[in-house]
């Protein structure tokens, strides 16, 4: 029977939707964080930097496990949230977004932070002498000058969210149309011996990942040639 199933697009659409929402949240949160990390002399910086980098090495299941504990209906965050009338976070789309954002944070913060650090203090000092206040300096100078870093960050953040498995499995489970993303669907298809479906999804992911890195390296190469 499995062979007869028509190709199911739902996981693909859900994955794209999750990645898109996550990237937007990541950029809104990650840019100020990267700005702070790039410029602060506060000693807490190294601690925050280490925390941000954690998902690079931590097994996704660890992150997923703690999120499940924190966000669950009896967890410290999830309990409070639901007592305020918030919808359930675990095994739901919002829960997936929270997990993805944390999991992909270093991929977004680090390129933006590097871009802010690379531009140095000088352009901002010049802008200040020309009458720009701090907000003005950020939006007219810092952000546009870091735009390649932001683009790289968005691309990597999107791709990394698409490729995650462990966190999603832990916090989202496998609910079709709600939390069953491509990576889960592949696992599921293999379990169900639906190899054609697994093949198509896997090949799609393969091509997608390759395209993403091609794009990232092309962006960085252009940045190099322009700055020289």
């Amino acid at each position: 029977m499995p062979d007869a199933q028509a190709f199911d697009w739902t996981p693909v659409l859900l994955t794209l939707q999750l990645a898109a929402v996550s990237v937007v949240v990541l950029l809104i949160m990650g840019t100020p964080l990267a700005w702070w990390l790039a410029r602060t002399r506060n000693r807490a910086r190294v601690v925050v930097e280490a925390l941000v980098a954690m998902p690079l090495v931590l097994p996704p299941t660890v992150l997923g496990f703690y999120l499940l504990f924190l966000l669950g209906p009896h967890g410290p965050v999830g309990g409070l949230w639901e007592s305020w009338g918030g919808p359930r976070l675990v095994f739901s789309f919002p829960g997936l977004v929270i997990g993805s954002v944390l999991y992909s944070l270093p991929f977004v913060v680090q390129p933006i932070q590097n871009a802010f650090m690379a531009m140095g203090e000088r352009p901002l000092e010049v802008a200040a002498t020309l009458g720009a206040n701090a907000w003005d300096r950020f939006f007219s100078i810092a952000f546009p000058m870091a735009r390649r870093g932001v683009l790289t960050a968005a691309t990597l953040g999107f791709a990394h969210t698409v490729g995650e498995f462990g966190v999603v499995l832990m916090i989202g489970g496998n609910i079709p149309g709600s939390t069953r993303v491509v990576s889960i669907a592949i696992y599921d298809s293999v379990e169900a011996l639906n190899y054609p479906q697994a093949h198509i999804l896997s090949a799609g992911m393969f091509v997608f990942s390759f395209a993403v890195f091609l794009l990232v390296y092309a962006i960085n190469r252009r940045a190099d040639t322009v700055s020289r």
Partner: protein, 363 residues
């Protein structure tokens, strides 16, 4: 007369600046010192880019900083134009958008210079649509200059704007700086480690050594102290004289110039009679005699009084010469050997004749 009064003491640890000064709120003040003497730090303190721990800064009747009363006007409110050593153009903006950056942030009534004026002054018209990455060093610095001018600054700060340029770049930019000095009413503080540059541009000179003020005052008066009591050694000894063009002698291709020391004949210059020029006279081109020499090819001879003698190791001395008439504003420097000094028994207060072999026109 309106003044700029400043006092800065930066925190101990690392480089420290500790000085107080008063300079005219007009004309060009040159800041001279070797690298590491605190020139750039001083400029950054004036701009507000560095906040000194114990500081006061009053520009005319505006208080920009007074730490005792916890007043610190932020950089973006100060109305300074700052030209950095490297042009530091915004790489993501065209030349036009670069020079308009400060201008667009001013209300129309704050604007004292028009875009067309600034473009004409800096000769940027053909470059407006270019991006900074494609410009030469001289062109970039002209853009930085126009950008600073269009800020309509109350005070223009220049941090060695020529230092990062090669010789053609310097030659390209210098006429623009001359013009700025001549035509612009904005007071300027110009930092440099080139005394020649400052002799050409500055009216007031401020000498710095290791973060401390050595001397500050009118250029002609302070310049000799670079060689005498400042402890700043400098390769080339020269003095600066302001002169007025009296007449030209076309037949001999000479110009007659009036200085505080007397008439100077120089190779014919283009300035018109009545105009003022600034002369540079190298110390080694000034020799000393006890009497007027009538049998010499040297025509520029002046009676002088020896106002000071400073050793210039290993074998020379620098003589500070004042006009015999008793004028104390102007000074001529002469470098002679110690042997000659002893031979002529020159002492402070002695009267003699200065023979000037050559003069060059600074501006």
């Amino acid at each position: 007369m309106s003044t700029i009064r400043g006092q800065f003491k930066t925190a101990p640890g690392g480089f420290s600046l500790d000085l107080a000064f008063t300079i005219p709120n007009g004309g060009v003040t040159g800041v001279f010192g070797h690298s590491g003497s605190g020139k750039t730090t001083l400029l950054r303190c004036v701009a507000g880019l560095t906040r000194a721990r114990d500081a006061e800064l009053v520009i005319g009747d505006e208080i920009w900083q007074d730490e005792k009363r916890d007043i610190f006007m932020p950089v973006h409110s100060r109305g300074v134009g700052y030209v950095f050593q490297e042009a530091s153009l915004f790489p993501h903006l065209s030349v036009r958008d670069n020079i308009l950056y400060g201008f667009n942030r001013l209300s129309p009534r704050q604007r004292t210079i028009t875009v067309d004026q600034a473009i004409a002054w800096t000769g940027l018209a053909p470059l407006l649509d270019r991006m900074p990455a494609g410009l030469s060093g001289g062109e970039r610095q002209r853009v930085a200059l126009a950008r600073a001018l269009l800020r309509s600054p109350k005070l223009l700060l220049m941090d060695e704007p020529l230092a990062a340029l090669d010789e053609p770049g310097r030659a390209e930019l210098m006429p623009y700086l001359d013009r700025l000095h001549r035509d612009l009413a904005v007071p300027m503080i110009y930092v440099s480690h080139s005394l020649r540059e400052l002799a050409r541009l500055a009216d007031t000179l401020l000498l710095l050594r290791e973060g401390r003020l050595v001397a500050c005052g009118p250029l002609q008066e302070i310049l000799p102290r670079v060689y005498t009591d400042s402890g700043i050694t400098h390769e080339e000894v020269f003095s600066v004289l302001d002169a007025t063009v009296v007449s030209h002698d076309g037949a001999y291709h000479l110009s007659e110039l009036q200085t505080a020391f007397g008439t100077v004949w120089a190779s014919k210059i283009s300035a018109q009679p009545g105009e003022s020029v600034r002369l540079q006279i190298a110390g080694r081109d000034v020799s000393i005699g006890l009497a007027r020499d009538t049998q010499s090819s040297i025509v520029n001879q002046f009676p002088v009084r020896v106002a000071g003698i400073a050793d210039r190791p290993p074998g020379s001395v620098v003589l500070e010469l004042r006009p015999a008439t008793g004028d104390d504003q102007n000074l001529l420097l002469s470098v002679i050997t110690r042997r000659s000094r002893d031979h002529l028994s020159l002492e402070t207060g002695a009267h003699a004749y200065a023979r000037v072999k050559g003069v060059s026109i600074l501006r």
